[in-house]
Every structure is written in C-alpha cells, then in structure tokens.
Symmetry: C2
Subunit: 106 residues, 2 copies
Amino acid sequence: MSIASDLIRGHTDTIILAHLIEKDSYGYEINRTIQEKTGNVFEMKEATLYTAFRRLEQAGCITSYWGDENTGARRRYYSITAEGRKTYKNNKAEWETTKELIDRLI
Amino acid sequence: MSIASDLIRGHTDTIILAHLIEKDSYGYEINRTIQEKTGNVFEMKEATLYTAFRRLEQAGCITSYWGDENTGARRRYYSITAEGRKTYKNNKAEWETTKELIDRLI
DNA sequence: ACAATATACCTCGCCTGTCAATGTATATTA
DNA sequence: TAATATACATTGACAGGCGAGGTATATTGT
C-alpha cells in the first residue's frame, strides 16, 4: 500500500523539515528514515524529494553543504534555518486544524 | 483562516461523496453545507467543485439530473452510485491510514 | 575478475487538481 | 431599480508529484 500522491501533496516539505529539526541530514538518509518510521509503507520518490530541497532552499528554509566523506558517494547535507523552523511550526499547526476539518467532512 | 489548497487536494471528491451518501444534493447546497459544518472556516471554490462533479461523473461515482423547481434558479442534482460508495469507503480508509502516517512523520 | 547491488546525487517533462477570472440566468430585497 | 442571493459553468494559468532517465563510487556475491 502506498499513500496517494494527492494525500501526501503539501506534506512533503513539512516531513523534510521535521527530520531536519532533529539533525542535519542528506537526501538518501531522510528517505530511509521515512521508510523506517512508517514500517516500509511509505517512501518519497526521489524526484519529489530533490524538488522539495530546491524549493525549501529557495524559500530560505534550509541551507546545504557538501559532506567531507573520504569514502563512498558524496553527500549533500541540509540544515534547517530559523525561517524553516517557523515554517515547520506553521505547517504543523495547519495540519492539526485541517485534520479536524476533514474528519468532520468525510 | 483557510485550508491550504495542497492540504485539501485529494479530499474534494471524498467530501462530496460523503455529502451525497446522506442525500441527493446540488452544488450550491453542498458548498453551503461544507461551510456550515466547518463553522464558515472552509468553503470549496466553485471551479474546484464543478470540476470535481465532472470527474466523479466521468468515473461513474455519481449521476446527475435536473431538478424540477418551478421557481428560482435551476439546480442540477447529483446521486451517488454503488461505485461511488465503494470509492468513498476506500478513500476514507486511506485517509485514516494516511493521517496516522503523517502524524508519525511530522 | 566482473556483474550486480547499494549508496548517493540530479534533471526534464508530463500529468493532474486547484482556483482566479469570467460569464450566464432567475428571484428576492433594500 | 440596483444590489444581492441563488445556481450553474468554462478557460487557462500554476504548482507539486513523479516516471524516466542519467552520473558516480563502494561493496558484495559468484
């Protein structure tokens, strides 16, 4: 089972920000964490993930830097900014409100 | 306050079907009911509503017929079909699952 | 030795749902 | 008689998700 695109739409950014609040991280790791947290039920499509990184960086919610691994594939790490925390907080609050409204409507 | 488009996206059809399970209804009434149920916090945009009717009819989830009002503006009534009930049930189940996953992720 | 798999990144272009803008028509109310 | 409410509908722009495709390195199995 997978989540319908239209149900996940709009949560992608918030999910990423939630992960980055815990610690700096990179795309591959974020995606694997998501899979673990959902018992392998859900994974973000790579295209969706990297599109979101561009969008979030553009919006000033995250910054990025290359990791200094001397083995394995290179990693681009992301950090959440103050702006990103603010956005996260707003999105989360909006989710709580929306959740209740939808429950009332369906 | 209004619900972000991206959070409501994917629920439009389910919300309409939920209303039509109660009784046959028409666009304007459905929209007013939604507003009432949410304490005037949320309303569907007309374009979204009517697009959804086309989509649902196309998918065999609803059928329509003109009302026989002899006063006021004409109304196009919609009925939910067996297929529509099935879709509603699936969508609702998917919502319950998704809700939990999102809560776990954000 | 070499193929397969895992790790890790990225972009292009299509598809779909939302919605602003715009239009039509009738009935009621100020 | 102007404004508002009821009631329908379409068009085109926009944005996010994602399939398909691509690059590169390290490890594991045969």
